[in-house]
């Protein structure tokens, strides 16, 4: 269709023709994507097969799959993946529970509902660096309010190897539960009211209504929220990097950063980036498959 439109046709003169839209917006976008996404992606794939340091003077040496073999047999890397998995489970699990729970509350008739919803969305509008620094202070055993409110005395959240990951995950939950809430709220408001009326006439219990009407109808949107949050949590860097230097909070993105920009092991870091990419794509595919199944029900 695009090819049949003439640029000087009357339609084109009235507004932007499809051809002009293609030339002005689509082609530059595709070029931008190729230059800044596709090209580095392919280029870095090439580097992942080389022993190479971008900051070094030596020429790259082709080592085949050696970088991948080294990484996958390195117990430290598996430890980073374990930390990441724990973090994703705690963080995304918490965000779904809190976000969906708050959405259920906001789905009722409340005074100043709009204002409350806007205020609840504030955390996700903040910079992750600011949130990390802010929560670092909140957790401080000397002057933080968390220990004061919960009567935890001098408990050092970020110094405790076991509690540090929870502390970082709770911060992420605070920041991103509003995102889950927003999508859940959109899903909840789309549930036809007559279904609840019918359930009410049939004297269905609250749990029955929730499990048979609310949850199935909201779950596609909730799953989309989970997909986004899982992908983001898997790639988490900023909050964890700012808040703690505990090895128990060293998620895979931090390890990747150290490989790439502190140790300048460019080849190895490219290989690790690909391993992470494959994992994220695999996890996302599982979710998407499940999402399709949910939609078909």
């Amino acid at each position: 269709m695009i090819a049949t439109l003439k640029p000087d046709s009357s339609h084109a003169l009235r507004g932007l023709s499809d051809l002009r839209i293609r030339n002005l917006f689509i082609i530059p976008t595709i070029i931008f994507l190729i230059v800044f996404n596709i090209f580095p992606l392919i280029y870095s794939l090439g580097y992942s097969f080389y022993d190479y340091s971008a900051a070094g003077s030596e020429e790259p040496v082709f080592v085949g799959l050696q970088n991948y073999r080294d990484l996958l047999s390195d117990p430290n890397i598996w430890n980073n993946f374990t930390v990441t998995a724990k973090y994703v489970i705690i963080s995304v699990g918490g965000q779904v529970l809190v976000g969906f729970g708050v959405a259920l509350l906001l789905n009722r008739t409340l005074p100043a509902k709009g204002l409350i919803t806007t205020l609840l969305l504030l955390p996700m509008m903040m910079s992750a660096a600011v949130v990390g620094l802010f929560w670092q202070l909140l957790y401080s055993p000397s002057w933080g309010v968390i220990n004061y409110v919960f009567g935890l005395g001098d408990f050092a959240w970020l110094s405790d190897a076991d509690a540090a990951l929870w502390a970082v995950a709770i911060t992420d939950i605070w920041m991103w539960a509003p995102f889950v809430m927003l999508l859940s709220l959109a899903g909840l408001s789309a549930v036809p009211k007559h279904l609840y009326e019918a359930a009410s006439i049939d004297r269905a219990s609250g749990w029955y209504t929730f499990s048979r009407i609310t949850l199935p109808l909201v779950s596609p949107l909730l799953l989309i929220a989970i997909i986004f949050r899982t992908m983001e949590a898997f790639k988490t860097f900023d909050i964890a990097f700012i808040m703690s230097t505990q090895p128990t909070t060293e998620v895979i993105a931090i390890r990747l950063y150290k490989f790439a920009f502190q140790e300048w092991q460019t080849g190895k870091s490219c290989a690790l980036a690909y391993i992470v990419l494959i994992m994220v794509v695999a996890i996302t595919n599982i979710y998407v498959k499940y999402l399709n199944q949910v939609k078909e029900r």
Binding site: A55, S159, Q246, Q262, E263
Partner: protein
Amino acid sequence: MSKRTFASLMAGVAMTIAGASAAAAEELTIFWAEWDPANYLQELVNIYSKETGVKVTVETTPWSDFQTKTFREFAAKGSTYDMVVGDSQWVGAGATDGHYVDLSDFFMKNKLADKFLPATVAGYAEYPAGSKKYWSIPLEGDANGWAYRKDWFEDPKEKEAFKKKYGYDLDVPKDYKQLRDIAEFFYRPDQKRYGVALYTDNSYDAMAMGVEQTIFSYGGDLGDYATYKVDGITNSKESIEGLKAYKELYKFTPPGWAKAFFLENNQAITENLAAMSMNYFAFFPALANPATNPNAKGTGFFANPAGPTGKRFAALGGQGISIVSYSKKKEAAMKFLEWFIKDETQKKWAELGGYTCSTAVLKSAEFQNATPYNKAFYDSMLMVKDFWATPEYAELLTSMNQRVYPFVISGKGTAEEALNGMTKDWEATFKKYKRYK
């Protein structure tokens, strides 16, 4: 367009380009971390600008980003910076990877090895060790030292209580045993007062510096820098005892002291948190200034105490200035260095607040009495020792951080396990880089 108009236009363009090139030749950019000494350096180079007409700008970036940004520029072979005031550990990478201009001839010609403190020449300029190949001019000398609450130490009640408990006078610690005792004495969580503030941040070299100087003072070492031998050295009995001593001191830090570097350790003094605080001397001006430290009058400074065998070491901080080999103004940069090494420039540098490495200036009574910490600084500079400066130093740091941090901060495993693990990692790293013949 007429021929004449075109010719005039081209002449204008040519003149603009020529003018721009001339202007570019009159400007130099020095890259450093964002901290007070960089501001002092800007003041110093302004004098050079006045004298020569060459505009020199000191561009800075936060410490957390300094290494990454510098090496990113090196990786791109960029000419944004003509000179860089690089960390001592970078000399190896700067030299072997071709990022720094070889300054050996300049060094020899101006007899700089005699002019600057030997430790600073070895730490900031020479690579490999003992090779007489020089890559930097010592610019900002620095070492790890201690700030302490002089007012707490001099309180007669505290003195009496201390003497009663430990059997000797409360004073600046002479050895690590006394340092530990004093830390224990002032550790009073019920009063929100603690014994000591240590470096614990393991995202780069902070904690490693605190640990290494304790290990050195206990007679241990981080390996043989000439042969790359580490087994039996980094995990020797002395090194293990040094690490245990650091862990022991950590018991007396304020709660949550798990990611502390210079900022937190200065806060430990300003916020009445700790009796003693480890820090680099470059951060002490803020503690001596009543505008930034309400306890400035009651704050004193001392150099690292001795270990059990009398050995005294301080972790080397500070940086040397190098010419970036990708700079397009290497000649102008060299002229600047010629000015920088002059005696009067070094004296002015010290007056502005910079830690000169000039032996003559450092030795002078004028310098040593200028601030409450200059004498301790001078003493420290005579006993500095550095981390590895080999190009793979960052991998060594990562491994040290991973092995030592869980033991010191979380009490996981033993000092032996931590150092044995680190030794194994370091050997593997050196093997990977073919350091063993």
